[in-house]
Subunit: 223 residues, 2 copies
């Protein structure tokens, strides 16, 4: 590999990590806005998503430049394509964070409603998966990537349990329909973040081992 190509691939990796950090901040702020009913943070996420979008567009252009300039093959080509795919998944995570923030704003219009413990656990897991999925890419660690896949199954189980609880709650008291629907809808976005982290981990495994894991997990979602 030429020194220029090596330098440019390292630069792509650096930019991807930068984008990942922006997205992590968005997720944290959005969840905080939802859990603490904090309007200022919710609004910051909406503004911050513009930075995510700009970074994503720029990184895609950088990938195309590297392809056109160096015409990489084999492992290096696969690396650039993986960056392109992770880039797109990170941007979608940013969108999911923005959706959580918008639900935080809606929740503030409603009376207090106790958030289920499962939601807190789901948020913590999805947050950890996001971090881990980026780390396994940076460190080229397929084992860590497999942990993300198993975390995703745990998130699905939590989501299912919470879904049942909230559904029962809505039947018990019609006054709980509005907030429960909002919590379910927010949890769907958290599940989506976990799914996207899983996509990233699957792509890392494929990049490292050439193994297609992305179609093995069950696709059936409850909510």
């Amino acid at each position: 590999m030429s020194l220029h190509l090596y330098r440019d691939l390292e630069e792509l990796k650096k930019r991807l990590v930068h984008l990942g950090n922006l997205v992590e901040v968005s997720i944290d702020k959005a969840v905080d806005a939802f859990v603490r009913r904090d309007r200022a943070n919710a609004e910051l996420v909406v503004t911050g998503d513009r930075d995510v979008d700009t970074a994503e567009v720029r990184l895609e252009e950088d990938c195309l430049k590297v392809l056109a300039l160096h015409q990489p093959v084999a492992k290096d080509l696969r690396f650039v394509i993986t960056v392109l795919k992770i880039n797109s998944d990170l941007e979608r995570m940013g969108d999911a964070a923005e959706s959580v923030a918008s639900r935080a704003l809606q929740l503030q219009e409603l009376p207090q409603f106790a958030l289920p413990e499962e939601l807190t656990q789901m948020v913590a897991m999805a947050r950890g998966m996001t971090r881990k999925s980026l780390e396994c890419f940076v460190r080229e660690d397929a084992q860590a990537a497999r942990e993300v896949l198993s975390d995703d199954r745990a998130v699905d189980t939590l989501q299912r349990r919470m879904f049942d609880l909230l559904q029962a709650e809505m039947k018990r008291d019609p006054a709980h329909v509005d907030p429960a629907i909002l919590v379910l809808s927010m949890s769907r976005q958290v599940e989506r973040i976990a799914d996207l982290a899983t996509n990233i981990a699957e792509n890392v495994i494929f990049q490292l081992e050439g193994e297609i894991v992305r179609h093995r997990r069950a696709q059936m979602r409850l909510v």
Copy 2:
């Protein structure tokens, strides 16, 4: 452009259209299974998704081969990257169709429930958008791609209206909570199909005109 490159790019396009057709069939069967409470069709979608997954993996490999073999630049490079992105969006549409099918199976366990008119309209629009998004890619028609973007706004409006109706219905009669939640959840998948068709249309516009439209639309979703 060399004759070989031209032939290989045409082959990629053909395979993408083939994958698109598989996904369209899945969507039709899944919706039919939901609306008509038809178990056989729901099960066919789940089996059919394996073909979608196989076709997606194969097309990605073909794209990488074209990149490595011909090292295309400029317009041709952008074309291959667009195929890669549409490929991934089509596969996710297939997953959404599978989710609709799994909800169809759940709905069969519940008492009859009148489906809202808005759902039928949403389904018809999302179906049309899927077809149009592929056509605009094949015909290189940016104007048709813009129609998909405007259809997406109409789908969001329908979704919002249906959401309000079903939420009111759940408050009025707790016996309607279970089916209403399932219909909402199914409609989320239809909205997702419409979103993915919109992604495809945005990518087509970018490929043809270099214009980044994909971050302009509002990202806030209600459900």
